[in-house]
């Protein structure tokens, strides 16, 4: 193991412990690591966007004599007028362009992925009990959100099945989230254990 690697892993181990100190209470070590990660993340994403989007997409396209990006560049610069009280209205055009295109593109996409694909996946042949249950549970869960009809009598039963289905879904989501977090915790603990071994091996030669 190289000395440089030991130093880098030492920094990672120190920062890991800094974050774990929050389990006791908010303290300067935690705040230090928290602010450091905020700065590093902002810097990392800035450079990633600069190289992968600005240089590759905008600068290189403009350098080849294609000036199609002049309009969005002007709109983008217009965003910066938000700092001026007098000229901040200009930024509304940039935001309007951004919002207009985004919402226009989103409607068919949402319609297809969130609605049509879900419905087509639910319209399945009743060849097994599981298929029947999927259809019943989806309809009942949807009915739970349907407020134009009072949830009384038979509708109450449908609504009840719907909320039970939703609770099972939330429970599964909760269980999977906790498992994911625990897996991360185990991984961090193993990292600390491995680091101690690395240092011991390095000192021992």
């Amino acid at each position: 193991m190289e000395f440089e690697t030991i130093i880098w892993h030492g920094l990672a181990a120190f920062l890991t412990l800094c974050i774990f100190t929050f389990l006791y209470k908010d303290n300067p070590f935690y705040k230090f690591a928290e602010r450091l990660v905020a700065g590093v993340a902002a810097g990392y994403w800035t450079m990633l966007v600069f190289h992968k989007l600005f240089v590759d997409k905008v600068y290189h396209t403009m350098a080849t004599g294609q000036y199609a990006y002049i309009i969005p560049i002007l709109l983008g610069i217009g965003m910066w007028t938000r700092f001026s009280k007098k000229h901040s209205w200009i930024s509304r055009y940039s935001i309007a362009f951004y919002i207009g295109i985004s919402t226009g593109v989103s409607i068919p996409v949402y319609m297809y992925t969130y609605i049509f694909r879900q419905i087509s996946a639910t319209i399945i042949p009743f060849t097994s009990i599981s298929n029947v249950l999927v259809v019943i549970f989806v309809l009942c869960a949807l009915f739970y959100f349907f407020f134009s009809k009072a949830h009384t009598g038979a509708f109450n039963i449908v609504s009840k099945i719907g909320i039970y289905t939703l609770m099972i879904g939330f429970g599964a989501g909760f269980g999977l989230t906790v498992m994911g977090r625990v897996a991360l915790l185990v991984q961090r603990i193993l990292f600390l254990k491995d680091y101690v071994r690395e240092v011991a091996a390095f000192i021992g030669g």
């Binding site: 993340a41 901040s88 309007a96």
Partner: protein, 205 residues
Amino acid sequence: MRKQIPIYFVFGSGIIMIVQYFIPSEESDWLFTYANDWVIVVGIFALALGIWSLLRSEFRKLKDPKERFYAAVLLFGFFIMIFTGLKAENLEAGSLMFDIFENVLIPIQATIFSLLAFYVASAAYRAFRARTVLATILLLTAFIIMARLLPLGPISEVNQYGVAWILAIPNMAAKRAITMGVGLGAIATCIKIILGIERTYLGHD
């Protein structure tokens, strides 16, 4: 007038982007590609605006003796990533920027997420104590899901089937119903924006 024109702008661009989806042709493909690229370019300038806002706030904090150290840590983290990432090849493995990414950003973020294992468990205990049938169903499902990795002897196999059934039938039905609800809500919001009913994005005068 300064608010009316951006609303027309949103309406026009939104309708054009919806219509192009339903007219498959080279022209609509071209429009879709360019409109998305333009949105990305405007987004790049919006990111710069966000970074400027962050830096301005942190430089102000440098004047406050209580916040000075933490603001300096954030600025240090930000500028070290900017300087080490000036060249595009520095985004690749083996560079100083990549080492900082791997030994500062990744460990801190992973540890912060792993901390949630403790807080999710304690919050869940307080929030979902089995007081009602619904809370009991949620807890029971979460427990069955979490227990799938435990060595439960002969019950393990039964539990595996149970988990598979929960994830494939009621959980999927619940997620599907929620997805449809989210989709309808998102489409309704998009339509409200395009029609100018929802205009909070324009800000206040």
